[in-house]
Symmetry: D2
Subunit: 297 residues, 4 copies
């Protein structure tokens, strides 16, 4: 047997093949990766929560959200300075704040003392995002952009890899492997909804696949997070699906939180407000204790 | 506007149309149906659990299971005396016990004191099943067998209507309406897994759709149950998906329980044993309290 | 090995199991069933076309359509006297014509001299439909209504079994087996669109699965028909998908034809008119010759 | 209204928005783009055929295939020098021939006189591929890699954009827009199979979506090609689905052709051999004439 990986210069022996690869696979039944990012443990007892607006709309907004979600127990501030679009057009309101937005995230991180997760969409912005963000978030459309995965992995920064909405678990773990093979072991998977025949609402394009949580954990040691805001696209379903995510064994939850959801710059049907977030944090914490002796707060 | 329903003799006025139909729809935001079956409340604080073997294999088995699941808090004994098959062939081992099985269920009910839910598959057996079973279970393949739904509804017995694995929520509620229009109001919906592009295992044919729980509860007042054993077809995923069902707001859980899973007559990959069932009952109870101030035990 | 089929009294030997079952399966590579219904050969050189309105709206309509589709080469007149509905409500316009409609079909058959295919939905109407219709059409929702399949099969009438929109090929052939095992060998399969993640229009609920044509023909000897009108639900797509059906190897095509499509009682977006039908017949005939040396006219 | 596109410096006026955008959309009912690539017209009377091996395995192979498919009427030689993989591992046999393979394609082009289409997977190889290939093929995994689409578009070379197997038509046209907005108008769409609940064989992962052909042509003026080899992954289904592609209105067909299919370096279940290709060319030509008065030869 004679395997070599895609990038020359990496030798793989037969022993490696038998004992080590694929890197995403569990090596024994209770194999589960734990690591620490900005003082927050992943894969451990506490289930980290990422909370914040879809878009980094303004400095005021991002500071206010950072303060409020931190007070309610969030472990990471999320928010997009870059935002992919199906068509290459966007309104002024919907415009990305880019480097400006990254600066506001950096300010919030420093002033409020909360680590950051934000999406990186293009190779030319990796350094700028990596400077501010504690985790590089790779979006659904880039899941199979292998050179981009490699470039992100080479920064050494922790990475969260969202599942493509049309990808199988095998496709997803294959993409993860492109990151792991670069020696970057701080890798988090994130389920964010898949395309299926029925999603139950005209405004809801995806179905949150919770069966993939035990399925992934059965064969992979990587922590896996759920994103019920994007998956449901509908505020009333966010809390039940967040709780269900915890109860299915998820290792983290990403939530859209906005002080004034109906006036959010994008996707105003899906964010929850501070009060609902605070309430949900308590319920997720209780469910984590009840189901897996883990916790959120 | 001039509507009339399918079955002559039922007059529907314009006021009815505006105020009453469809019968499955909520009439106000907190509208939720509660009813009592064999002393067990549905749609209320306690979340009923149906537990038992896939098939009523023998009198010994069914008595033993009845005793053991009741001791651990199950509200209903489940078990099939009739079992639909994709092809019209079955092995001796897989054979239905039919009237004999119904008798064993009746014996277990009387001796152990636990109500019964079992599937009815054909019109000619409705009376026999209705005599023993406290709830008539209608399977996925019969969801759109409208004359059969009507015949079951006319018995006046409580009914659990499983979703077809290819049906939308609208298809499902349309089928429910065929039952409700007969004046039979003790109707329970049951999600049992749907056909989607990816199910993560060769042995797993369906994905449990938990997003349908908040979706159905948003528009319908009917209680909705989940069946993680059939949905996952894989024992290790049953507990996480049962817990996730509770956390997504389900009003009941159906579980396959067998004293010796690997020797179950059918589908030996999916039942849990008594010990796992007892443990799961405690965890579901804790999750119910944590998420919705409901309970299982 | 000890198999017995669902209905007692039929003995199946080991030799049978090896050589004969499943009945729907090809026994050798070029195995293809041919049979004759009302003078029309199925599975042979000529590809039969079923044409007519969705509903048997009136005697005038059905006579006019019968005359016009026959003149243009249709082999069977189609039209529904019974029509299943998702919800048990229908408008007066949408109402079924039932026994009256069957009588009109019988009149058209006699006056115009064209055989009939129409749907039978309930066991209590089997005899009435069988008296008029040359082929019993079983709809998507009844595909897995096994006692109904058996009852239809026992009439000895030819049967067309539509695929459930959520059914796999295996599910479908399993259902076919319930008919074949009754000794009824004049069985036609019909693909009518399946539920998938993307169907490309808000008004289009299904995707026509043409890959199932070679897939079914690879393992089964049964003739297989396509129904592009129901599958696409959109007139402009009917002709390309009908032609594609022929080119993928289909053994028949079912089409909705109405003299005044936009005023059709139901589904007015999908029928084609006489002129388009006549043109399509010529094109289908040419494609049949070009692709498989078969013909339509 | 104040729109600006993603890349600064491009002004879009309200008149543009009304009359011009999206660029992929038809501007009038019979709007269809025609253009010429290497002397072959797209969107016109003749339907171009791309034929060749999955991988550019060796110089001998590629020359032999080029000669043989040209003799039988192919318009373009296809073959991959680069090949994406789900996991970052590949066997020696499966290895990409890369720059060497591009050189062999260039040799075949010059010696046999047939234009080339080959996949480009990474930005760093765009120039090398563009030097040899008459059309840049963008694969399913890169469909939403927007910076890569932009970089390919900026070369000015004709592009064929394969649909992601989980993408809607809207997603696909959105991706096309990223190319068109760069002023690159020689753009071809390619359907290559989508993920659906049922694909009928364990070896077949995708369903060829032919309904998307009339659906795309209804709203877009871009030519659209089908790839039945990748879609079916199974040789016996390639011919019927290629013919069905032509009959559904496709503007081109991509086929895997190999002199010795079962010994192809990759995916040996799907290529057809020279003889089957020659026969299929004739049948596609006849079907094109029969269905749309177009031709292949």
């Amino acid at each position: 047997m004679n395997l070599e990986n895609k990038y020359p210069g990496k030798d793989i022996s037969v022993d490696d093949i038998i004992n080590k690869f694929p890197l995403a696979a569990k090596k024994h039944e209770n194999h589960k990766t734990k690591f620490n990012i900005a003082g927050v443990e992943f894969g451990g007892e506490t289930i980290p929560i990422f909370a914040g607006p879809n878009m980094v709309e303004s400095q005021e907004l991002i500071l206010d959200v950072a303060k409020n979600v931190k007070e309610r127990g969030a472990h990471f501030l999320r928010g997009g300075a870059f935002k992919p679009l199906t068509f290459p057009y966007r309104s002024a309101k919907y415009n990305e704040t880019r480097e400006q937005g990254l600066q506001w995230l950096a300010d919030a991180k420093r002033e409020i003392g909360i680590p950051i997760i934000t999406e990186v969409m293009e190779e030319r912005y990796i350094d700028a995002v990596a400077e501010v963000s504690d985790i590089l978030q790779i979006g659904t459309r880039n899941m199979q952009n292998f050179p981009f995965l490699t470039a992100c992995a080479k920064t050494g920064k922790p990475i969260m890899l969202k599942r493509h909405y049309g990808a199988s678990l095998r496709d997803w773990l294959g993409a993860a492997e492109y990151i792991l093979i670069e020696g970057n072991e701080k890798l988090i998977l994130c389920e964010r909804g898949v395309s299926v025949p029925h999603t139950h609402r005209a405004t809801s394009r995806f179905l949150m696949d919770l069966q993939v949580i035990p399925a992934a954990q059965e064969i992979s040691h990587l922590p896996i997070v759920v994103d019920p805001s994007h998956a449901t696209f509908w505020r009333p379903w966010v809390a039940p699906m967040a709780l269900a995510g915890i109860a299915s064994g998820a290792d983290g939850v990403m939530l859209e939180v906005h002080p004034d959801p109906q006036n959010a710059a994008v996707d105003p049907l899906q964010p929850i407000d501070y009060e609902e977030f605070g309430d949900l944090m308590n319920r997720m914490d209780s469910v984590a204790k009840a189901s897996y002796k883990r916790k959120v707060l």
